[in-house]
């Protein structure tokens, strides 16, 4: 196993490095053009936050190096003063406060949605038109047909005055709790159970939305992995040798489905993070997606660009981890494709 990992580590490392360079290149493109244009107009709110130290008065080529240096040294500028909640705070502080909430939401939703994907995905190993397969198709179909923002808007609307929704806008920083900035955990740490239970209540709807939409998104890829594998000769051979179907499913199909998921993890993660931005914006959940949304609304490009940068880093980290897991779990991937 380790030998496979070592053998593949060079390829994985190369992919990660390329991904980081591509991400920085893409963002610097946006950064250079957006900020340079605003700088030229001399009308942008970002000027009070930017300063020539970030190189926005330089040409695009020079700005690339400024951006790379700033990205990795944490000089991300300040959020524009018109930012409704966080005006004047540094972008690093905003990311630092909001990221744990997003990570918490993503982690819990993935913990719940992955078993759902595996269980429903097994439905595709059955014959065509079986009830489980039809039910699985229906589940995926619902995820495609119902837009996330619409479901979120309906829930927010009809639960507006309940404690499940953050309805009153907060106008200052202290919304965030300490030390983890996650109210549920901080409430438990400080023995403040009212805070913890309030944190749980406002967490329920974003979690349910994330679980449903993430699982339908992952299921589409998991399903393709299983369906591809169903036509393999050795699967028929295993069945003809009298191997029980559940063993075939457990030992082979589930692994192939997961392997496909890991293979396309960057696409999956990008969808999930898109869902995250929408969920956080609609439900006023104060994570990174909400910070991005507020930055766009108030024209705070530093906030927008660097929150996108952090999202990109999350995709790259998940790609890196999934490459390792895939090499370990799928012998076909370990042996090269």
């Amino acid at each position: 196993m380790m030998a496979h990992l070592m053998k593949n580590s060079l390829g994985i490392g190369k992919r990660v490095l390329t991904a980081v360079i591509e991400l920085v290149a893409l963002l610097v493109f946006l950064y250079a053009f957006l900020l340079a244009a605003e700088y030229a107009d001399k009308s942008a709110v970002l000027l009070q936050a930017a300063g020539p130290s970030m190189g926005i008065n330089q040409n695009a080529f020079t700005q690339f190096f400024y951006f790379v240096k700033d990205a990795f040294t944490g000089n991300w500028g300040n959020v524009a003063s018109s930012f409704s909640t966080l005006g004047g705070f540094s972008v690093v502080a905003v990311v630092g406060f909001s990221l744990p909430l997003t990570i918490f939401l993503l982690a819990i939703s993935l913990l719940i949605s992955v078993p759902i994907v595996v269980l429903i995905g097994i439905g595709y190993s059955r014959r065509m038109n079986s009830t489980t397969r039809v039910a699985s198709n229906l589940y995926v179909g619902l995820g495609i047909v119902f837009p996330l923002f619409l479901v979120g808007a309906f829930l927010r609307f009809f639960l507006y005055n309940s404690s499940l929704v953050i309805s009153a806008p907060t106008t200052n920083l202290p919304y965030w709790t300490f030390p983890t900035h996650i109210p549920v955990i901080d409430g438990l740490i400080h023995g403040n159970y009212a805070m913890a239970s309030a944190g749980i209540l406002v967490f329920i709807i974003p979690l349910l939305l994330m679980v449903f939409f993430s699982s339908t998104s992952m299921l589409q890829i998991y399903r393709s992995g299983i369906l591809k594998s169903l036509n393999q000769g050795y699967l028929e051979a295993a069945s003809s040798l009298g191997l029980p179907r559940w063993i075939v499913v457990r030992n082979y199909l589930m692994i192939k489905g997961s392997s496909e998921l890991f293979r396309y993890i960057s696409i999956v993660m990008t969808s999930i993070l898109t869902f995250d931005i929408v969920v956080e914006a609609v439900m006023t959940y104060r994570g990174l997606g909400w910070a991005f949304y507020e930055s766009i609304l108030t024209g705070s490009y530093f906030g927008a660009i660097f929150t996108l940068f952090v999202f990109g880093i999350l995709v790259i980290i998940s790609s890196f981890l999934s490459s390792i897991i895939r090499v370990i779990t799928d012998p076909e991937a370990a042996g090269g494709e």
Binding site: F146, L150, R156, F157, Y160, L308, V315
Partner: protein, 322 residues
């Protein structure tokens, strides 16, 4: 003497061959029998007709100009109305009114034109770019495939909605700018899809046969590989059409694009509708009616896409030809 002479050459059907074949008639019958495709086609046709109506007869919605112009004319002078017409009121207010005292029905009907124009533009542009690049990358492999993979990786690292909005800012923020920005963010989805399909079809016997008989790469990709992936590609196009409509509605619902603020658009209407929560949750129709209208469209294109995929039945046609 050619060693292959006298042997039947396995050849993939072209689009024309499929359309002229008996199997095409069979496919139509299958389509007719396919309830989901028919339902999807009827729903999609309904929305298309509404979109065309507003284009051809801009006054039919009871305004002196098109609804788009009528709303844009407000330009910030719209003020929230404290009373909202209930469902079942007379005339254009039969589906009730929304936040600014506007009737829901005509604004919603006018929204179809904008949403369809936007999503058709994005899907047509991005699918054509993705198709050509994906076919070549899938067929040739090697460096072209590598470049495609890197370009698509380049785009998929950023959440789509973030990328589309940022590029739209970059271009200047208008209806057309957002459409261009979304196309830029969307084409890799088609390219990767086509590339994966083309790679698997490339292994088929008829492709090898075409290669040995000296067909050019363009002939092989467009005459042999493309017809083979057509059903899946068509299904994907329709599904993406629904997803792009959802995207533009999401952007407008979240007020991320100021250019859309006074346009008749479903996401905008839902944004107005969600503000009506301040009048109480009993005033639900400004949010729910446009929402159901949007679900209707995405359901229609999804059913049509899924139904088409099953109906074209390319495989059975191919095996019949042998």
């Amino acid at each position: 003497m050619d060693g292959n002479e006298g042997e039947e050459r396995l050849e993939a059907p072209t689009v024309t061959m499929i359309l002229k074949s008996r199997q095409a008639t069979k496919s139509v019958k299958v389509s007719l029998a396919n309830a989901s495709a028919i339902t999807g086609a009827v729903i999609t046709a309904f929305y298309l007709i509404i979109g065309l109506l507003d284009t051809v007869f801009p006054n039919y919605l009871g305004t002196s100009g098109s609804m788009g112009n009528a709303l844009t004319a407000f330009n910030g002078s719209l003020s929230a109305s404290s009373s909202i017409s209930p469902l079942g009121s007379s005339g254009w207010y039969i589906l009730g009114g929304t936040l600014y005292g506007l009737p829901i029905l005509p604004v919603m009907l006018a929204a179809v034109k904008f949403d369809l124009a936007f999503s058709l533009f994005v899907v047509i542009v991005s699918s054509l770019i993705g198709l050509v690049i994906g076919l070549y990358a899938g067929f040739f492999g090697g460096i072209i495939d590598r470049i495609l993979t890197e370009i698509s990786n380049f785009f998929v690292q950023i959440p789509l909605i973030g990328l589309a909005v940022m590029v739209s800012y970059l271009l200047g923020f208008s209806f057309f700018d957002l459409a261009i920005a979304t196309s830029i963010a969307w084409w890799p989805i088609f390219a990767v899809f086509v590339r994966n399909k083309a790679r698997s079809v490339k292994m088929a016997t008829f492709v090898a046969s075409a290669m040995t008989s000296g067909d050019t790469a363009t002939e092989i990709t467009f005459r042999h590989i493309f017809p083979s992936i057509l059903p899946d590609f068509a299904a994907r196009v329709f599904i993406e059409l629904g997803i792009v409509v959802q995207l533009i509605a999401t952007v407008d619902f979240l007020n991320l694009d100021p250019a859309f603020k006074y346009m008749p658009e479903i996401g905008n209407m839902m944004s107005w509708g969600s503000s009506s929560v301040l009048l109480g949750t009993s005033t639900w129709w400004p949010l729910v009616v446009p929402g159901l209208f949007l679900i209707g469209f995405t359901l229609g294109v999804f059913l049509l896409g899924a139904g088409l995929k099953r109906s074209i039945r390319y495989k059975s046609w191919r095996y019949d030809q042998r």
